[in-house]
């Protein structure tokens, strides 16, 4: 259940952004979460909904953009489909993860005076 500590870290970042811009409220929160980042999106949303009550985010829905897991050959022989061996079929080199491990606070919509 580390999703709760991720949400806690996210609130610290949101509060810093809101303070810097003297925001009255946060209206929307956008995050990007990789499908192989080790974050359960359903639990993340539950944790967010638990924490946001009576905070500056009380009125701000959480929008999650889920990023697919993509592995690629480091020598440019194209993508490697997960589910098989994580090596390039052409050159045998270990695959490199190109996306799918993101845990990113992407953007906010703030209400400012």
């Amino acid at each position: 259940m580390h999703e709760y500590s991720i949400v806690q870290a996210m609130f610290d970042q949101i509060e810093a952004q809101a303070q810097a811009r003297h925001a009255i409220a946060v209206k929307r929160v956008f995050v990007r979460i990789g499908r192989s980042a080790g974050v359960d999106v359903r639990l993340l949303k539950t944790a967010y909904d638990t924490f946001r009550v009576r905070t500056i985010c009380d009125d701000a829905p959480l929008e999650v953009d889920e990023v697919p897991e993509v592995w690629t050959c480091p020598d440019g022989h194209g993508d490697i489909v997960p589910g098989g061996k994580l090596t390039c079929e052409t050159c045998g080199r270990p695959a490199r993860m190109a996306s799918g491990d993101e845990i990113i606070l992407e953007r906010l919509e703030l209400e400012v005076p």
Binding site: H2, S5, A37, L86, I103, R107
Partner: protein, 253 residues
């Protein structure tokens, strides 16, 4: 303020942030890593399920190396210091970091835990993480390498069920291999095959803390890590995210 009609209503403005949510933990981990490098301490983050044999492997390691090497252990434990006491009995410096309800260690908890042991005097510091195959994988602590203990009694498909922790492992210790004789359906080759589907560079050492089989190979691996720690291209950097410089702004006791 609304400046088109002068009504005094507030405005909604979009703000691009693009910040890694765990950036603070990553800064703390970087700080730990710099400290370890400055004092030439090799740091191993040992993860695995509850009961996978993490503590037993450390006891066997201590038995093989004896007092010749300076070893230390920080054990992340939800409620007790039983594991720390076991390891101390085997002759290594050990302290528990009691995490309470937290399912993993983070870089800041480790940093605080460091104050409890003379880590600067060690050759190798093991961090025995909380027994859990999910949460510890997400938090960088400042270690040189990640090692996952996977016991043969857990089943061959653990790597497929918990791909993230195995993906982040530099080495998988397949433990309790003395039990293979009573587990006719478990094959080390199939474990290796499953690892190769989640680890781009699968490295595995089968060991038994009971018979001592494989422990010499593990100790040799630790020696190589100490001589030449692998350079991890951190996924953060590989994906081109901003890197924050961490200034060292406090002293250590």
């Amino acid at each position: 303020m609304c400046d088109s009609c002068g009504c005094g209503d507030s405005d909604i403005v979009p703000v691009a942030v693009h910040e890694r949510i765990l950036a603070n933990n990553e800064r703390a981990a970087r700080h730990n890593r710099e400290q370890f490098h400055d004092h030439h301490v090799s740091v191993i983050n040992l993860m695995g399920s509850p009961g996978s044999g993490k503590t037993a492997v450390l006891e066997a390691t201590a038995r093989m190396l004896g007092p010749s090497k300076r070893l230390g252990v920080l054990v992340g434990d939800l409620a007790t210091d039983n594991d720390a006491r076991r390891v101390r009995a085997a002759g290594i410096v050990a302290e528990a970091i009691t995490t309470g309800s937290a399912c993993h260690l983070d870089a800041d908890m480790l940093h605080k835990g460091l104050q409890r042991i003379p880590w600067r005097e060690l050759d190798t510091l093991f961090i025995e993480n909380v027994g859990n195959l999910v949460c510890p994988a997400v938090y960088d602590l400042g270690q040189d390498v990640n090692v996952v203990a996977l016991s043969v009694t857990e089943g061959e498909d653990k790597p497929l069920k918990y791909p993230i922790i195995f993906r982040k492992a530099d080495l998988v210790l397949v433990t309790k291999i003395d039990l293979l004789k009573v587990l006719p359906d478990i094959s080390i080759a199939r474990i290796q095959e499953n690892l190769s589907m989640v680890m781009p560079t699968p490295v595995m050492i089968p060991v038994s803390a009971t018979t001592g089989e494989g422990i010499a190979e593990w100790v040799e691996w630790l020696g190589r890590i100490r001589q030449a720690p692998p350079v991890h291209v951190h996924e953060a950097e590989a994906h081109g995210h901003a890197h924050h410089h961490h200034a060292h702004d406090h002293t250590h006791p």
